[in-house]
């Protein structure tokens, strides 16, 4: 008799732990630049690094001053093609080879690394608005008594 009156399952709504995490919104109030480090690797001997060496001598200091949030490292790597690595806050890395470019081309590639966020390149054709908030007007449903919540 007492067992029949006892409740089997709790009457509370289940709370899934994913909904307890905060959703990232970089730039909503404060913006944190995602690129943290640039590593330039060049060779002293090979001619394919000539333009890279010119860029490092002439343009690098201005770049460092204009981007104080980025740590810039210059390394020699003998008998290899020149590269630039961008390291990001999401632990991803972008590596761009710099052989075959003029100094302006190297500037463009470095700017590409500075502008990026390090996330994987996806097709952005159909991803216009990515939202994590509930809609303000709610979602109409003919099958539900109270408004349908995601």
């Amino acid at each position: 008799m007492s067992s029949s009156s006892r409740l089997i399952a709790p009457l509370t709504k289940p709370v899934f732990r994913a909904q307890l995490c905060s959703k990232q919104a970089n730039g909503h109030i404060a913006f944190v630049p995602q690129v943290r480090k640039l590593v330039f690797e060049y060779s002293q001997n090979w001619s394919s690094s000539t333009n890279t060496r010119t860029y490092l001598k002439n343009n690098l200091q201005n770049l460092a001053r204009a981007n104080p949030h980025v740590e810039i490292v210059v390394r020699q790597r003998a008998n290899r093609q020149p590269i630039v690595r961008g390291l990001y806050l999401n632990d991803k890395e972008k590596v761009i080879p710099l052989n075959g470019f003029e100094v302006t081309g190297i500037e463009n590639k470095v700017q590409l690394l500075l502008d990026s966020s390090g996330t994987k390149i996806k097709s952005l054709k159909r991803r216009t608005v990515e939202s994590t908030t509930q809609s303000a007007r709610g979602i109409w449903s003919g099958l539900h008594d109270t408004p349908f919540q995601i």
Binding site: H28, L114, S116, S131, A136, R137, G138
Partner: protein, 159 residues
């Protein structure tokens, strides 16, 4: 049977309470309308950016074609806001709502490129075939909070 009728009564009671809480008549002034919209928990805006209209809420990540005159980290103020609304109220501008009443800012988060596409061109029976690799350039913007200002705040800010 008893359960069905009690849930039906509860449903009717909820509808009545919702109707009583919200003002059914149109507000007398823009300021009163904005106050009604601000009183509700969530708002949305319909704004034009780079010639296209989007329905935006705070914290949204908007992807638009590459904006060349803007740098990562810059904060843009949306100037063409056509509509602002909440759960029960909407204010539509003709064609825009002045920035003194509504202000929304968007931060440039990154300049990216899309996935590599290979465009294939061919003219048949002419021996002409080309494959062109292409990456479309985009800018991603993070929408900031929606500031709905009343008439007193707007006049204070303008003076």
């Amino acid at each position: 049977m008893a359960g069905w009728s009690s849930s039906c009564l509860q449903h009717i009671r909820q509808q009545l309470s919702r109707a009583l809480h919200t003002e059914a008549r149109t507000p007398s002034s823009t300021s009163r309308a904005l106050d009604l919209i601000r009183s509700q928990p969530n708002q949305y805006v319909i704004a034009s950016i780079a010639g296209k209209k989007y329905l935006l809420a705070p914290k949204d990540l908007l992807t638009v074609p590459r904006l060349t005159d803007v740098r990562v980290g810059d904060v843009l103020s949306l100037s063409q806001i056509h509509e602002v609304g909440s759960r029960e109220y909407t204010l539509r501008g003709s064609p825009d709502i002045p920035t003194s009443h509504i202000s929304v800012e968007a931060t440039v988060v990154e300049h990216t490129k899309g996935k590599m596409e290979h465009i294939f061109k061919k003219k048949r029976r002419k021996g002409y075939e080309r494959t062109i690799p292409h990456k479309q350039t985009y800018t991603r913007l993070r929408i900031g909070p929606i500031h709905v200002r009343s008439q007193e705040q707007a006049s204070l800010s303008s003076s």
